[in-house]
């Protein structure tokens, strides 16, 4: 997949994956809590992007 042809959603997923990994490692102290916090951040990143996309779609109509 050529990065210059990414869709916005693909970019969001990759962004969330990298940022959540760093947040998980740096914000928590044990591996288990790091993993859980990373998953939590990833879910919030992706979830908020989807919700805001729908909000903007509805506002634009």
């Amino acid at each position: 997949m050529n990065p210059s042809h990414f869709t916005h959603f693909t970019a969001v997923i990759l962004f969330a994956l990298c940022a959540s990994t760093v947040f998980g490692i740096t914000m928590r102290e044990t591996p288990r809590r790091m993993f859980r916090y990373g998953v939590y951040c990833f879910t919030l990143f992706c979830g908020s992007a989807i919700v805001l996309s729908w909000v903007m779609f509805l506002i634009a109509r």
């Binding site: 050529n2 210059s4 042809h5 990759l14 940022a19 102290e29």
Partner: protein, 143 residues
């Protein structure tokens, strides 16, 4: 600058053992972590964490370059200045990319705008990782 043993943990009262009580330049993990993503954690023998941080930060930077993102090189206005500050967080990777002529001079396509954000955020994440290495070194973060 000599290292002060960690006084906030039980390990601080014991003789030198482990990275938080080593003697040496206390800011080395911070500086190394800024210059090379993950290097601060490698110095503290946190191999897996360092590897994950390096892959995440370098991957994000590489994706930004591949998406034809812009590398900020001057501060013509406040937004450029903020972008330059974020890019500088990438350390040596930023300077090497500038030297190799990577990155676009201006954003030509929509994806390039996201690419520029990837590069800036990679820099900021690298600063967070370097500070985490410093906190591990000083004992502010226990493990």
């Amino acid at each position: 600058m000599a290292t002060t043993p960690n006084r906030n943990t039980a390990a601080g009262s014991r003789p030198a053992s482990g990275p938080t009580t080593q003697q040496g330049f206390v800011y080395l993990p911070l500086i190394a972590g800024w210059l090379v993503p993950g290097a601060g954690h490698f110095l503290l023998r946190k191999w897996y964490r360092g590897a994950l941080l390096a892959v995440s930060i370098l991957g994000m930077f590489a994706l930004g370059i591949a998406m034809q993102g812009k590398l900020y090189s001057s501060a013509k206005d406040i937004l450029d200045l903020l972008g330059l500050a974020g890019d500088l967080g990438n350390g040596l990777v930023y300077f090497a990319s500038r030297a190799l002529g990577l990155g676009a001079d201006s954003e030509q396509v929509t994806v390039a705008d996201w690419g520029s954000r990837f590069i800036v955020v990679a820099g900021m994440l690298n600063v967070i990782a370097a500070i985490d290495a410093h906190n591990l070194r000083t004992g502010r973060k226990i493990s």
